[in-house]
């Protein structure tokens, strides 16, 4: 076996290398999350209990309020929903997950490193599984950094939000991002092309967001909103309802389906051609 003291290098498995390659990016994204949540929290005292803003928002059309999720803007959960979780935080998490997920195997194929990697005695399935595990770890860590900041700084600005509601929302945001990242991984594994994986996933993400948001306004969209992963993650309003095992299970199942597809597709292909 390798003797650690001889080589100072600490990277061993594909999982470790994949995480290590992104360590700076992950730190950056986490800091971005902290900055986003911190800024929003810092502004909260200006709206908290502000009757004028309440009145102003009340005057907005219901459709506007539903779409942008600005109901009860002056309470803790309402403010967080409107400013953090309705769009910005899930979007940033999804961008991280999709950029990274699409790069996991397709990036190695495009850069040509897949040849030396797959010359090693490791199965293609193991490579995909370890890379996905790194993606999941990274995305959930960045999502968690968001929850930690809100939980830690919230009380200082009198932002009150239930423990369960906050973490249910963080987990849902993380799972939504992981779902899109896993889809991008599967598309990259099936085609070997990052650009294609990113493009298709971006279309899916936008469609999922619009379907979930518009379903609140457009009655004929309601019956099909279950098609949108965004609906299962954030459309069901975890900041109010807390953990919904059913909707989280739907997300987990779709993630599992994407990973399964990635494992099978990558195993069958001619690599790097």
């Amino acid at each position: 076996m390798l003797r650690r003291e001889a080589g100072s290098a600490h990277l061993h498995s594909v999982f470790e290398r994949t995480l290590d390659e992104e360590r700076r990016a992950l730190l950056g994204w986490s800091l971005g999350m902290v900055a986003l949540a911190g800024t929003m929290l810092a502004l909260y005292p200006t709206v908290h209990g502000n009757a004028q803003i309440s009145k102003l928002l009340d005057s907005y059309p219901q459709a506007f309020k539903s779409f942008f999720g600005v109901a009860d803007y002056t309470t803790g959960p309402g403010y967080l929903r409107a400013e953090v979780f309705s769009f910005m935080a899930p979007l940033l998490l999804a961008i991280l997950a999709v950029l990274w997920g699409s790069d996991l195997t397709a990036g190695e194929e495009e850069r040509g490193t897949i040849d030396v990697l797959m010359a090693n005695p490791v199965s293609r399935r193991r490579v995909v599984a370890e890379k996905w595990a790194a993606l999941a770890t990274g995305v959930l860590v960045v999502a968690a950094s968001l929850g930690v900041v809100i939980a830690a700084v919230g009380p200082a600005v009198s932002l009150q939000v239930g423990w369960e509601a906050l973490w249910a929302t963080v987990v849902a945001s993380g799972l939504l991002a992981l779902l899109l990242g896993s889809l991008a991984l599967a598309l990259g594994a099936a085609t070997g092309r990052r650009g294609m994986a990113r493009g298709i996933t971006a279309i899916v993400a936008v469609a999922a967001y619009l379907l979930s948001s518009l379903a609140a306004l457009v009655s004929w969209l309601r019956p099909v909103r279950w098609l949108s992963p965004w609906y299962h993650a954030l459309g069901v309003d975890p900041l109010t309802t807390g953990f919904s095992l059913f909707h989280l299970a739907v997300l987990v199942l779709v993630v599992a389906a994407c990973v399964g597809a990635a494992l099978v597709a990558f195993d069958r292909r001619d690599l790097g051609t």
Partner: protein, 293 residues
């Protein structure tokens, strides 16, 4: 490998390739760029899959027992791409782990042998030094089979020589080396047998020794006086005979003695006898293949 075919949609690939490589030999795989060398090698490594045919490596099916087969192969890709942000030490540690553990002492020894710097990021290394990283990762763990795609491209002559010695050492130690190259002199130096691939088909497999044995000697001589007509005609083994005044050009296969005997009857001013290099032999081969096509 038996009757292996692989076609790409955009053209290219290999067709009906059958090769038997013997344990402990250095097999040179020779052909111009784009002939199918890299395709063949990537089939061996199970990076791409054949449309038809089977490949057996050290008794293992390259598809079904892919992981077990790769455990026994060291591979240097032709278009070597490495993880640029890692240092050689990190990359080699990573691969050593995936390979299940050549000891670091061996990696250190190989790195020293090739004078490879281990702790600078790979992106800062010259092409030659990257190639050394590729060689070390292929050689470490002493795999039974070495598959080297253009191993000396971009290396300076000293390192090329080291690589050739490492290849010979591996073969002398009973390991099998599959070496692709478009440089004939390289193959001639280190290989036991040579396979020639062209347009996706293997058109010849020869022992280097046999090629040499079949090689004609080229004899050029100049004489003090013009030769009489008919001189040197009808001697055994003489093929291309050109006489022009006091100069003579012969291509001789087999024994040289009859020609030398005949030369002695004349007043020779200048004489050169040389063996054509493999380059010329193969070029001749190509031309005849072209003529047949």
């Amino acid at each position: 490998m038996a009757n292996v075919s692989k076609r790409y949609r955009g053209g290219g690939g290999v067709e009906g390739v059958t090769l038997d490589i013997w344990p402990g030999e250095v097999f040179g795989f020779l052909g111009p760029n784009g002939a199918g060398k890299t395709t063949t090698i990537r089939l061996l490594l199970d990076l791409i899959r054949p449309d038809r045919g089977t490949i057996t490596l050290v008794g293992l099916d390259s598809r079904r027992d892919s992981v077990a087969a790769r455990r026994r192969i060291g591979y240097l890709p032709g278009e070597l791409a490495l993880y640029d942000r890692m240092t050689p030490r990190e990359l080699l540690t990573h691969f050593a782990y995936l390979r299940g553990g050549p000891p670091w002492s061996e990696i250190d020894r190989l790195a020293a042998q090739f004078t490879l710097e281990l702790d600078r990021p790979i992106r800062e290394l010259s092409k030659g030094n990257r190639q050394k990283v590729g060689l070390v990762q292929a050689l470490m763990g002493r795999p039974e089979v070495l598959v080297l795609d253009e191993p000396t491209s971009g290396l300076d002559p000293i390192v090329q020589h080291q690589v050739h010695r490492a290849i010979r050492d591996a073969a002398d130690g009973g390991r099998t080396v599959f070496l692709s190259s478009h440089v004939l002199s390289e193959v001639a130096q280190v290989a036991d047998r040579v396979g020639l691939i062209r347009d996706g088909r293997v058109i010849a497999v020869e022992r280097v020794q046999d090629l040499r044995g079949r090689a004609a000697h080229v004899v050029d001589a100049r004489f003090a006086a013009p030769l009489p007509p008919g001189a040197f005609a009808g001697l055994p083994g003489v093929e291309g005979r050109q006489v022009a005044g006091d100069t003579l050009h012969l291509e001789v296969t087999g024994a040289l003695a009859p020609v030398v005997g005949e030369l002695a009857r004349f007043d020779v001013v200048d004489l050169t006898v040389r063996e054509p290099d493999l380059e010329e032999l193969f070029l001749a081969f190509y031309e005849s293949a072209d003529a047949a096509a």
